[in-house]
Each structure stands twice: as C-alpha cells, then as structure tokens.
Symmetry: C3
Subunit: 256 residues, 3 copies
C-alpha cells in the first residue's frame, strides 16, 4: 500500500499515480491533496494525526516549497512504515509518533537541477521503488545514507497549569474547528462548566451537539487536544482564530 499526501490540488497528483502504477501494483490511497499550500508545519500536523491509523505502508508526502533547491530527499523507516518526502521537517513528527526511534536516510546524490515537479519525477518513482524492492535495496542502489541532522519542525509547547493554560492554534479543520496544542486533560474536570477562552466565558462540552446550533463551545477533539468549536458552525470564525493564533484558557472565578 502506498498513501499519497500533497498540496498539489488537481490534476497533478494523477501524474504521480501514473508514475507509480507504471512500476508497481500497490494499492494507492489518497490522504489529502489539498493541504495548505507550502505550509510544512500544518502538513506535519495532519500527517501526525492521520497516518498512524493506517496499517504498515509506504507514505509518499510532497509539500515541498524548496523543490529544485539543494534540499535533500528523505526516506524514513518508522517501525513497519516507510515515509518518502523532502527533508524539510514534514516527515519528522509523524515518524516519531509511528516509532520511538525512526531512522532517517538522505540522498547523497545531487538533486536534478531544473525540475519543478519532484513529486512526479523524484518522489513518486522513489516511493514505488521502496514498495517494490524494499528499503535496503533502494538505499544501496540509490546511494542514500543514514543521517541524524534532518530538518525539524518545532511544534510550539503549551504552558499548562492547574487554573490556566496558554497555547496556540495548530490547525483549523474543514469544519472550522480550531485545534490547539493544549492537551485535553486540562478540561477533564470541567465538562459541563464554563471556562474563559481569551477572557470570554465559554461552555465546556463533550461534543458539539450538546449545545444548540450556533453556540460556541470548548471541547476535546478527536486528536486529544482542546478545540474551539461552534455546533454546526465554524469555531475559528467565532473565536477569530487561525493557525498560529495564541489561545489562553482560564478557569472562571467560581471554579478556582
């Protein structure tokens, strides 16, 4: 199985599929091709949330603002999963979630000078090779070598105390839910209460439909983090949040 993730929109992903299927009979599964354009950090977040639900597979990932520059090509061994993509940090958070100690292999060969579509010309054939021949053969044949110095993405760390928590928005999903980096445990004893979100009193609920349509709420999303939402609406709009916006949560006076 080969999964495909990119920010290519349409129809470029089909060219990658054609290339892969010329070399492999692997099952292909699209993860997403509408990730925010050239936004490596948000892409890394979604991969980390989604790929762990897959059985062992080769995961082809192309969000690649540095295409055609000197950035290296990476293959990652993460347990029984294999990740193929650019060395810009996007593969690291998911690799570290899939395995406690992922191993990274980088190209030693120069990248082709002029290409603007490495997804089709470099990464897709590489993913097919990893699927067909296995990691060891590809590393030897294509002159990859093990490296430690991969690019990394530092997701911001929240500050969580007993009565307040400061974090930021990691991503806004297609429902408009604003997903923060604050762990859901902060809300554990307060479901049914109200807390302050950036100073605004907001009900804490276990799911959206616990309130009437249009009502803002704080909840714990499917990723385990605190999420700002509106039942049948867009939390990001109601709370004026986007990726990277700081979020400050505090218990109300009565809960302290």
């Amino acid at each position: 199985m080969i999964t495909l993730t990119s920010d290519f929109g349409s129809p470029y992903p089909a060219a990658m599929k054609g290339v892969i299927l010329s070399d492999s009979d692997a099952r292909l599964v699209d993860v997403a091709h509408d990730l925010p354009r050239q936004d490596v950090r948000t892409g890394a977040f979604w991969l980390r949330e989604i790929l762990p639900y897959f059985p062992p597979a080769v995961h082809l990932v192309v969000v690649d603002p540095g295409v055609g520059t000197g950035r290296r090509v990476l293959i990652v061994e993460a347990g029984d999963h294999r990740l193929v993509g650019p060395d810009n940090g996007i593969l690291v958070p998911v690799a570290e979630r899939l395995a406690s100690e992922p191993t990274y292999y980088a190209t030693t060969a120069d990248s082709p000078a002029s290409a603007t579509f490495h997804g089709r010309d470099v990464f897709a054939p590489l993913a097919a090779s990893v699927h067909e021949q296995g990691l060891a053969a590809v590393i030897e044949e294509d002159r990859f070598e093990q490296v430690e110095d991969v690019e990394r993405i530092d997701f911001p760390e929240p500050t969580v105390e007993a009565e307040e928590a400061a974090g930021e928005v990691l991503a806004v999903d297609t429902f408009g839910n604003a997903i923060t980096n604050i762990p859901g445990e902060f809300l554990a004893d307060h479901v049914g209460d109200r807390i302050l979100v950036d100073g605004r009193e907001t009900p804490v609920r276990s799911t959206y439909a616990d309130l009437p349509p249009g009502e803002p709420l704080v909840t714990v999303g499917s990723h385990g983090n605190v999420e700002l939402a509106v039942n049948r609406g867009r939390g990001a709009d109601a709370f004026d949040l986007e990726t990277g916006t700081p979020v400050f949560l505090a218990l109300t006076e009565s809960d302290r």
Copy 2:
C-alpha cells in the same frame, strides 16, 4: 467493496480509510466527502440517487450532526447491500430504493461518551466488520437488534395536476442545476414548448445544449425529476433557487 460518503472534507476521510484497511482488504470507493455540512436531508437525496448504481457493497455513511449524543448506530440490510451510519434518517431513502423492505438493526450498547469522530472510531471499524464477517456475525457480536422505529426524512411531496405542478428544490448540483421533486413526466408532452416557472416563461428542452449558452431552460435531469438549468451556466442562480425553495410550474395559456 466498501463505499465511503461523508461531509468531512479533507483529510479526515483518510483516517477512516486507514482504520478500515487495518481490518480489511476491501476495495474502497469514495462517493463524496463534500456533502453539505451536517445536512442530513440533502445527503439522503444524493445517496438515494447514487448508491443504486453500485453493485452489492457495504456503504459507510457519516453525516452526523448528533455525534457523541445518544443517537443510535444503524446497520441496514437492503437486498444485497449493507448500509452503516447514524440513525438520523440519512440511510432510509436509499435503503427503500435499494430494497422494497429493508431491515434495520440498531445498537443497544451505549455510544462512547466523549468521541467527536465516530466516523473513525465507530462507523469505519463497523463497516470493516460487516464486510469481513458478514451481517449476522456482527449483529450478534456487537449486540445490535432489529428495530422499526428508525428516524425518517420526509422528502416533501409535490402536487402535480394536468396543467400545473407545485414542488420544491431538493438539491443544487455542482453544475448549479436546481433539482426539484416534481416528476419529469409533467414535462413529457411539452418538450419544445415554453412553460411558466414561477410565472416566468421558460423553454422546455431535452438537454442543455438545445439552447445557446447562457439560456435558462426546464429539463428532466438524470434522476428523472424536473430540473431548472442554464446551458453552460447555473440554473439555481438564474432562477434564484436553493435547497428548499418552492417551485411552481404551469402551462402557458396557449398550451392549456
């Protein structure tokens, strides 16, 4: 074969696929993941129009505004098709089209309290189980029981007489065609004529390109219903229609 339908946008459907493929080698086919958000009635309309073209399959459907509340989980036996989704009415119109007497099974177990993503955590594994083990084994193992009192969606009934018909818009498709609930038979003897659409004289044609680009028309869509369209344009805009808007058709004086 397992088909997948949701209002999840992207990339959440991939998590459902990962879960299914961890348990099953079924072929996966996407029906749509951009159904109007949490709009059970429009979802029910599209499922009823699309799923009957499939060979026997397990159909996973998640448009689920009541996620995390007490709403039941449903498995439907409709001929050789199996439908899996929430008990909010969305499965019923398609089930009744697939089989004259569909059988409904509902969970007796409590729904998990805190989940906001039952598509991934409840429905996807259930669809995989129905595919792998068959309906009877799942019903026994997961303690489903046959029920009659499922939630239903009442599609509005049109009023059709010899010279006029009153109905409403069931859905607007991606071409902007406004699909009504008025059966196409109303137009049968009038192709080539003009009729009144909400009082406006409009040509009746058998297909869009029977008129120049930009011209509004009345036709019979691929679903067999009266449709308001514009050749190479958006009928919903030209006639100022959206889902739920009443539509009144009448023969012109000369045709009566």
Copy 3:
C-alpha cells in the same frame, strides 16, 4: 486499469464508478473531476500533460457540453491506450501524444435522445466494455466505425524568435502558475537573467524557491513550457493572466 476524468465535481463521478464496477473489476484511478466546467480546450491540455504518465489503460473522459445533442461517441486506439469520450476534440491532443497515428472509431448509432448524463449512461458502460471485452469486440458489437473526421482543438501556436516570443496562456494550475504555449527552450540561455514579460522586467529562474517568497519569476514548468509564477504565490494574479491571455516575452536591451 480505467482512469476517470470529468468536470462533474461531486458526487456524480461516483455514479460512473458504480456503473463500471457493476461490469468490471478494473482498478479505477481518478485523474480529475474538477476540470474547468465544459471547457474542452483546457481539459484537452491537462489530459495531454497527465495521461502519458500512466501505463496502458482505458481512459474515460467526460467534459461534454454537447451532451444529448448529435455529437458522436468516440473510442480512440492510441498505442496500448484506449480513450473513451465525446467527439468534441478533447481526446485528440492526448491521443496524438500517446501514439504517432491514433485510430478513431465513432458511433454510427443515434445517441439516446433525452439523456443529460451520458457519463453514467453511455461513456461509463462503454469504458467498462472496452476494458472487459477489448476494442475489437466492442467496435463490432456496438457498431462503431473507423473515422478520420473527428473534431479537433487547435492549440494556438506561439511565435518564437531569437530575441522575443509571443504566445498565450494555455492553463492556470492550482498553484496559480500561468502555463504558456511558449517552449521552455526560449529561456535556455537566460536562467539567472531578467527578461521582459509584457514589458515588465522579471527574473528567470530554474525553480520558484530561487527567489524570496512573493517574488514573481519566469521559469520552465514541469510540462516543458514557459510559466509565469510567484514563489509561494499566484503568478496568474501577479501578471494578471488567465487562460487565453496573450503573453509577450522579450530579452532586455543588455541581453540582446
């Protein structure tokens, strides 16, 4: 393998898949279903760029503004590829790229009079038949005959001289890159220089990230043509271009 391409949006392509899978176990691969609506020329461009990356397959293509009129149904033999779609020109540029002398077969039977969804009712079952029974059997059984007089699309020819080139935009991709019909060779000796784009001095670079984010540039896209782009931005907006806009390139005084 059957690939599917259309301008249907969602969920109509699923009906085509259901029809095909009722007759065939072929692998299905989506090329795109969001091609510009009823825009045969842009569709023809994308097919010509994307399909050659696929291994031999049956390619189902439905961008069909003439649906329901007298336009013929076409099957094309292009090397080991088979193309199925309407006789409106969309299949010709890709067929001529896939094979030096493609062979065209057109229906002799009348098209069904009233259908508005030939993708589902005509083309999908035909693609399944070509896949399952092979070209020869379908031609005989469904009374196709070889024809020469197919509809053609004339992509505009650029005028390329040593110091200047005049062409036009063939398509704008999802990154906002404006893809022209001017061959990349025009820029070959000028990477690193600046040239005039409609009179505006613009750097020529081998890839987007050779300039800071937000900077406009001229480059050679993955299709081999001159492309107007902005690093991490939308070239079509920066240069005020859309499909069909003329583009004039000229060397600067110092490069002449």
